[in-house]
Amino acid sequence: MSEHRPIAKNILTLSILISLLSLSNTVNAQDGATLFKNKCASCHGVVKAVLGPALEGVEGRWPSKELLYTWIKNWNKAVATGDPYPVKIQTYNASAMTVFEELKDADIDAILAYVNKTAAAAKVPTGPGGGTTSDAAAESDSSLLYGILTLILAVISLVLLQVNSNLRKLADDKEGNPSSEPIPFYRNKTYITLLSLILFVVGGYFLSQWAIGLGREKNYQPEQPIYYSHKVHAGTNQINCLYCHGGAMEGKHANIPSTNVCMNCHMQINEYAGPDIFKEDGSKVNGTEEIKKLYAAAGWDPATKQYTGNGKAVEWVKIHNLPDHVYFNHSQHTKAGKVQCQTCHGDITKMDEVYQFSELSMGWCINCHRETKVDFSNAQGEGNKFYSIYAKYHEEIKNKTRDSVTVNDIGGLECQKCHY
């Protein structure tokens, strides 16, 4: 038993080291992803050119990293250095890149790390899971990184352990202590046990992640019968969400607007003259043609400016699908809960074709219910009067033993709040 103790100690140290390492790594990678989504994603894809060029391999294209930093923070300064590369690429697109003075070098490093990681993952063929491609890919990709890291560290530790045991043996021999014949590591039961445990844990993790993801449709972005760009309507033209999706304030369905709502504006607007729109596959969208599709659906003759009466409702593809046993009411969240549309639907104003931004899983719902604060009355007595009946919480707030009431506190996690 005694000779095993140092090994065990080493393993403990090692595992703490690994977990520490991986923890810090996670934080970085997440920051990069967030920063990329917030700052870059509206114009840049990782492997795909959108408004700006694809960012894959961007570091390799630049003569120096310093210059790249400068360009990202303020492209004008980079051009001003006179370096030929920034001068050349400033004409990539008619619209100029946004200035990001607030970004630090470390932030940019995080973004670049994320870009590299995502680019590497994109090259790995998609697993059999299918449905949740990009999300699953991102997951497995960061795990791959950890995996490689762990493997290297494991090899090092293995070598060190071997060296350690050899040295001890030598020392024992020298001191004349009797020692048993060493067992080769591949037959060492400790190693085998350890290895199978690791395999079980890692394999189990991936298997359960994959199984949980079945049937979820995050990032689902179907092609619609009419190429309707939310970016043009809600972004460029700043049309309020509720103009079309007024049901969100009144009932369970936000509702897709009926064709007559579209025609309120499109009787006048019969051509698209904004910046070019590109589909996900890179092909260009002819906005005017899409408006003509709307006219066909509405039964509107643009020449005579008359309805022909031959309209046929547009069969949109539903993106957000909840299981039948879930009751979801938009107005509960938007009107009573004052939740912004973007919280669940993402930044719609930047999406041409809408995709499912959130997971719409039960865990995702529950999480929000745990964290969201209810519109309870504050010191000024504002807040929804409905909650005035929660005498106990008001008392606690008054006594400063409680600072806020979450949805959870008023029963927001109970089964029959959503399942009935």
Partner: protein, 1052 residues
């Protein structure tokens, strides 16, 4: 085991072996492990290898299925959305429920263009928002698959669809050349329709309009004509009556206008702790145990043929003379007591009779005159217009038809081929009519004999008006576009009388001019009712000239034959017009608790003497009740034979057999076909009116057996007594704390009523911040009608299971009404009945919750016992552990909700009935409530306190930035209750209705099975009987006597 005070069934009363077994075996089924029990496992059909194969295959298949691409779903918006409609938000329209002459103002809940739920219109002072089971179920008829979908030409049994235009052309020509036109309809009380009929008949001179009511009130109408000079039914004010005497009138279930009467009746029946004398007193004299009789304080039975004699005796008693001419000392005593009470409370009494005999009704009119009811509890200023048919007119019509004096016959809303007493004569006579047109909604028995079918709309698709009580108008407006190529009756008449105005326009024009402008009309349409500002009241001049003759005439009616038959309407099906409604067919009868059949009700005495079924004998009682095998009787009544299974009901007069109409339909739909026997043929015409009883009866037993799906033995409290509580008014007056003391004696050792929650248990007490839902049910005002049961079914998508499954104890009603008898079953007059609506009690210390292995059922912070269907794995532990037996398990795929198609059994054990498939039709499913999950096979379900309504009510208050009000949340059962026995709300709010009810009735308040510390959120209010004898207590006294060795109290 001690004999029980209250019993639901005879086997429970005698605690037979079968009943003990039944009580032990919570679930009747065993797991199908037959094969595996043989000695050599390898030889069985399902071996271990097979098992592994199937497990492996199904796991792989499930994985493959789950990883398939999710299907693409479409979202199709309106092309041009109606302005006020928001998909997913319900709209409410005021309209009117019309069934024959019955018309009740309602509010229809319309969800995305589909009416899915009907509620009473509380703006109406006529119905005061009252409803009944038939009204709630009627929304399903809109989506009935058996409705005729196009106009049709019917020749030699062959149907050819027609367009409306062709039909109009052909019918127009035929009517013009056929000769006299007769309109045969149910009672019409719509003013505009009457006007249209008038115009139509003016166009075809020589014609006439005949009204025919299957459940006829000719006797009452003719007696009123003789006594008051008006052929009408007066309004009865049961709310003003302190003494109510009913001579066989089931005014809470089926008589004239039960919805209005129930509402009124409850006013006097609601017990006031501070003023106990306010409680009304109700005497019932009848032959069979009716719903109304079950609610009476004092009940006496007599032979059906003795009805007239009882009325005459009561008349002489109220006039201060002696009671004579009736059999039995008890009956005479009862008549005397009722008469004394009526005289004591002169002007505050009311006597009604269910008889269709003119003489009997004349005598009743004389009694009412004598006790000063005319003008006080009987109101002639606003008579009821729900029934106007005169039996003799129908007789004349059939004779005219047979002799060829009728050229064309237009039939609407009636079905004489089925519901006329001499259907054979009608069937023959209609062949002599040149043109016969049926406007009925389906190809019923009569329509099949007609030449043309021009189906009318359902009332939810119609425009129109109704005036069920003079001066009280209720409007109809369509709540959905017509589903089929049907046309409203009024439109057809207008068309055929050459008036091009559509009925909608015609109707609007009349009311706009009548109400003085479009704005007023729209307001009236929105309210749904037009009523006089002050309720008109008044009596009518009474002419008693014919009474003496009537008294003489009824004396001769009394017979002494061994058995007599009384024909009645069931509370669920009524006259049978809604027979193809699975919800009504599956609603257990309040008294017999039988579903899906009609039967011959007999008394225990009769069963013992004639059929050798001794219910005190464990073996025959077990066979009769536990196995539900009922002997079949061969009946010969008025020379017509019928074979029917028997149901033994204590409280039935011993010479009486009772049979319900409304069954035995042919070709009217999958649910009704072949259910029961038609009893209309047993009626007879006495020269003036149709008799609903007969003494020309011979009975013989047969060897045949028949299973009837009865629900009363399905759940057992396993010997726990304190489920219900009742006391007499005397007990209360003597000691008003009698109920409180009883409760204290049960739980006094555990903290008493005050501290029971804390001290009765080791578990901690949980906070209920905010809302705590509670319900109170008054056993005193509950009449057991079943309205709540059906309303719950409609609201919560409760599946229909069909007769086979009811027999297998698989009924699914979330809200059941337990009917308990007490007293000696062999004493017809002494049996007392009490009803208890039983639903999930939402126990705060629920035994079901802590046995669920997957936490699918748990408690909410609002006190609701929650059920997460998608989490349930169907172990049924919860149902096993529920002391109230309110949990319901989906044994089969009743709704077709399973992911697997064709998962519904069509043969073998557990084969589902046609009605289940009718309910699963795409058309019928339009009635489902989209806010409530349709449960699939293998999950448990139960009452949720209408969680979709509580959630919606809370949301409404939140959106309007205010505190929750009582009006925001009403459960379906609460809203449906015609006597307002159910109150629901937030018990944390001391101002809420529920808190007030509990506070004001603290002396009657109790919790069912309180002593087991499950802490229900449903409380009951003790029933106080306005009598001095409680059968249950008497029984107890007798038992105690027996136990002490003294001779048991003699049977009555």
């Amino acid at each position: 085991m001690a004999k029980k005070k209250y019993w639901q069934s005879f086997v429970e009363l005698n605690d037979t072996e079968g009943h003990q077994k039944l009580a032990q075996n919570e679930f009747q089924e065993l797991l199908p492990t037959g094969d595996a029990e043989s000695t050599n496992l390898g030889d069985t059909a399902a071996s271990r290898r097979d098992f592994l194969k199937y497990v492996g295959f199904s796991t792989a298949a499930a994985m493959a299925a789950a990883s398939c691409e999710t299907p693409v779903r479409k979202a199709i918006p309106y092309l041009n959305k109606p302005q006020d409609l928001v998909p997913g938000v319900a709209d409410f329209y005021a309209t009117t429920y019309v069934n024959g002459g019955e018309a009740i103002p309602i509010i229809a809940k319309v969800r995305d263009g589909r009416p899915i739920k009907l509620e009473g219109n509380t703006l109406s002072t006529f119905s005061k928002g009252g409803t009944n089971a038939r009204l709630h179920a009627s929304v399903l008829d809109l989506y009935d698959t058996a409705r005729t979908r196009t106009p049709k030409l019917i020749r030699n049994g062959k149907e050819t669809p027609l367009t409306l235009d062709t039909a109009d052309k052909e019918i127009g020509a035929a009517l013009a050349s056929s000769g006299p036109v007769v309109l045969l309809t149910s009672t019409i009380n719509s003013p505009t329709t009457k006007q249209i009929i008038g115009e139509f008949l003016a166009k075809y001179p020589g014609g006439r309009h005949v009204q025919f009511d299957a459940a006829s009130y000719s006797g009452l109408l003719l007696a009123s004509e003789a006594a008051y000079g008006r052929r009408a039914i007066p309004s009865y004010s049961f709310d003003k009556a302190e003494v109510i005497v009913s001579l066989g009138a089931d005014f809470l279930g089926t008589w004239v206008n039960p919805i209005e009467f129930s509402k009124h009746y409850a006013v006097g029946r609601r017990f006031d702790e501070s003023n106990p004398d306010k409680l009304s007193k109700h005497y019932q004299f009848e032959s069979m145990l009716s719903l109304t009789g079950a609610n009476a304080d004092e009940r006496f039975t007599h032979r059906p043929s003795e009805t007239g004699a009882v009325a005459a005796a009561l008349l002489s008693a109220v006039q201060g003379q002696s009671v004579s001419g009736v059999d039995g000392a008890n009956l005479s005593k009862g008549i005397k007591a009722a008469a004394d009470k009526l005289n004591e409370k002169k002007g505050r009494g009311l006597v009604v009779s269910g008889s269709n005999n003119t003489q009997v009704q004349l005598i009743v009119a004389a009694i009412n005159e004598a006790i000063g009811a005319n003008g006080t509890t009987i109101n002639w200023a606003a008579p009821l217009q729900t029934h106007q048919g005169i039996d003799s007119e129908m007789e004349t019509l059939v004779a005219d038809m047979a002799s060829g004096r009728v050229g064309s016959l237009i039939i609407y809303g009636v079905n004489p081929s089925y519901e006329y007493h001499n259907a054979a004569a009608f069937d023959k006579a209609i062949k002599s009519v040149k043109v016969s047109i049926s406007l009925n909604d389906r190809a019923d028995e009569t329509t099949a004999l007609c030449q043309y079918a021009v189906p009318t709309h359902h009332f939810l698709e119609s425009w129109g008006d109704a005036e069920p009580k003079a001066g009280y108008i209720s409007l109809l407006q369509p709540t959905i576009n017509p589903l089929f190529q049907t046309r409203q009756f009024q439109d057809s008449l207008l068309k055929w009388s050459g008036n091009p105005t559509p009925y909608e326009q015609y109707f609007r024009n009349i009311y706009i001019s009548k109400l003085g402008g479009l704005e007023n009309f729209n307001k009236a349409l929105q309210d749904g009712v037009i009523e006089p500002a002050t309720a008109p009241t008044g009596g009518a001049a009474f002419n008693g000239a014919a009474v003496a003759a009537a008294v003489g005439a009824v004396a001769g009616l009394k017979k002494t034959s061994k058995t007599e038959v009384v024909i009645y309407q069931k509370v669920s099906l009524g006259d049978g017009k809604l027979a193809n409604n699975p919800w009504l067919q599956e609603l257990p009868d309040p008294i017999t608790k039988a579903t899906w059949d009609n039967y011959a009700i007999v008394s225990p005495q009769f069963a013992k003497a004639e059929l050798k079924i001794d219910l005190a004998n464990a073996r025959s009682a077990d066979q009769y009740e536990v196995q539900m095998i009922k002997p079949v009787l061969k009946l010969n009544i008025n020379n017509k034979t019928l074979e029917l299974p028997i149901i033994i009901v204590p409280g039935t007069q011993e010479n009486t057999i009772a049979i319900a109409v409304g069954y035995g339909r042919k070709n009217v739909g999958r649910a009704a076909n072949g259910v029961g026997q038609n009893a209309y043929s047993l009626l007879s015409y006495n020269g003036a009116t149709v008799d609903w009883s007969s003494s020309t009866v011979s009975v013989s037993g047969s060897d045949a057996k028949y299973k009837v799906g009865q629900t009363q033995t399905h759940s057992s409290y396993e010997g726990r007594h304190e489920v219900i509580k009742e006391i007499t008014i005397d007990e209360f007056k003597k000691n008003k704390f009698v109920v409180v003391q009883q409760r204290e004696s049960e739980i006094g050792n555990f903290g008493g009523i005050e501290n029971y929650e804390k001290e009765g248990s080791l578990y901690p007490v949980y906070d209920r911040p905010g809302i705590k839902w509670g319900m109170s049910i008054d056993l005193g005002t509950c009449i057991g009608c079943g309205s709540c049961s059906v309303a719950c079914t409609v609201e919560n998508n409760v599946p229909v299971v069909g007769k086979n499954e009811v027999i297998r104890f698989h009924d699914m009603h979330w809200m059941r009404i337990d009917r308990y008898f007490s007293g000696n079953p062999h004493d017809s007059d002494g049996v007392q009945t009490i009803f208890q609506p039983m639903l999930c009690q939402h126990c705060d210390n629920a035994p079901c919750e802590n046995v669920c292995p997957v936490a699918a059922t748990n408690h909410s912070s609002e006190g609701i016992n929650q059920m997460a269907y998608n989490r349930c794995i169907g172990t049924r532990y919860c149902a096993n552990n529920c002391p109230f037996k309110v949990r319901r398990f989906n044994w089969s795929d009743y709704t077709g909700a399973d992911s697997f198609k064709d998962n519904q059994l069509t043969s073998g054990v557990g084969a589902l009935n046609e009605a289940v498939f009718q309910m699963n039709d795409d058309l019928t499913r339009m009635v489902l409530n989209p806010d409530v999950t349709v449960r699939s096979r293998g999950v448990m379900e139960k009452c949720t306190f209408c969680i979709q309504r509580t959630q919606e009510g809370k949301l409404k208050a939140k959106k309007e930035n205010r505190v929750l009000a009582d009006e925001d949340v009403k459960t379906a059962c609460q809203q449906a209750c015609p006597t307002d026995a159910i109150v629901f709300g937030n018990a944390n709010n001391p101002q809420s209705e529920i808190s007030q009810v509990r506070k004001n009735n603290s002396l009657r308040n109790f919790y069912s099975l309180e002593q087991i510390h499950v802490l229900p959120n449903v409380n009951y209010l003790t029933k106080v009987r306005n009598t001095n004898v409680l059968a249950a207590h008497e029984d107890e006294a007798a038992r105690e006597g027996a136990e002490h060795g003294s001779p048991a109290k003699a049977e009555h």
